[in-house]
Assembly symmetry: C2
């Protein structure tokens, strides 16, 4: 038996999320079907972070076990051949120790949230950004982001249905950078609560358009209550960038 670590990219707009749902195709399902198609083996593919419908991944990590002897590059290429025409690809396949677990071995997750900040809606980046027509002040967004850094109770940004045992998380990075009309918010932590990144982004955008002051962010954060936080930013802007081990 060999364990494979897979690095996976996908366009989340084409799937109901990582996990299969009654209403459509899950990334996991498509990946498992591709494994079956080239190897004949029925496997379960475990991922580092189960993304929601519409959320993209540029560096999702997953693992699976194969009984047959396969080279890593062979696995990557065979899976990609069978993954077509779905908008999911295997960027890398590596043979790893059998104690490697995509989810439980991960020590860091990095997400990127992309905003298109201009009066006109997106065209070529449709489905891959959050369109904010009002001008966002990224300097005050950075100040607001700094308030969320460190180890805190993140209940204000915790989505309904979150299965984490505790709302206490350590946020290691939350940076806001602008390049022209594009704004990128990078969030890095060992792990995140459900919807945490999108909820933080929704709050930062409130600050960016001038609806909330920095003090209002602090007050909302201290309340440890989701109802005190800003709105959930749309899934389309969110990318799982990489997972560290």
């Amino acid at each position: 038996m060999q364990r494979f670590k897979l690095t996976i990219e996908y366009d989340g707009g084409r799937f109901v999320g990582w996990q299969r749902q009654d209403n459509g195709l899950g990334v996991q399902e498509v990946v498992e079907q591709a494994v079956k198609a080239f190897s004949g083996e029925t496997v379960t593919v475990y991922c580092a972070g189960r993304t929601d419908a519409g959320v993209h991944a540029l560096g999702q990590v997953a693992h699976m076990d194969l009984s047959g002897e396969w080279g890593a590059i062979r696995v990557r290429d065979a899976m990609n051949a069978h993954l077509r025409p779905h908008a999911v690809v295997v960027l890398d396949a590596d043979i790893v120790e059998t104690n490697f677990h995509a989810r439980f071995s991960a020590i860091e997750r990095v997400y990127e949230y992309r905003i298109l900040d201009r009066p006109a809606p997106p065209t070529v980046t449709h489905g891959a950004v959050w369109w904010v027509p009002k001008p966002l002040n990224t300097d005050v967004m950075t100040d607001a982001a700094d308030k969320l850094l460190g180890r805190h109770d993140f209940s204000t940004f915790r989505g309904t249905g979150c299965q984490a045992k505790s709302p206490i998380k350590s946020l290691d990075e939350l940076s806001v950078t602008r390049e022209g009309e594009g704004i990128v918010i990078t969030a890095r932590a060992r792990s995140f609560l459900y919807h945490q990144v999108r909820n933080m982004v929704g709050t930062l955008a409130r600050v960016g358009v001038g609806r909330w002051s920095l003090d209002e962010v602090s007050i909302a954060f201290a309340k440890c209550d989701r109802r005190a936080g800003g709105p959930t930013a749309p899934a389309s802007g969110l990318f799982l960038l990489r997972v560290g081990y």
Copy 2:
């Protein structure tokens, strides 16, 4: 009568090109319909560079005349309201002198060609790159690009159906830059022959994968014959970036 300069962005994958065709929607048609919808006026919109099917624009420029009195921002926003749900938007509208002509006043056109150079096909950038699974050597591509700079007979890169009076053009920039798996080729000139950028890119890619030497590029270029050139790179990777006046 007021003349408006429009800066337009569109996802070329959704259109048969700038111009209307029997087999589908042209960008021009959609733009003219949006003008009609908000102003009641039937106008002709003239662009700087008529892009082909699948070719994108991040900064196409066009002009049109309106009899009514409209503010520039009003025109931009009204057109965008009526352009939905089409993947075309007006980034800017400006009132210009009536001797301004989007095509004939232009003194510079800049195109960007995007390549995804990796074993796995694109997902989120599908339709907005040319996927080249073989590794491209961008250093030799740069050397090959340098050979095309300056004033020359570009017949080797001239597409069938080109309506230019002369194949002599001045190529002011042809640069090749890599960032990870992405390669961007920037081409800048007063004007280009039909398919010139895509044909030059096709030749550069031949050099990049090692099929052609630099000498072979020089020989093909000197032949002034399209049949001596490399293949036409796909439309999906090409973006009209900006037009200078």
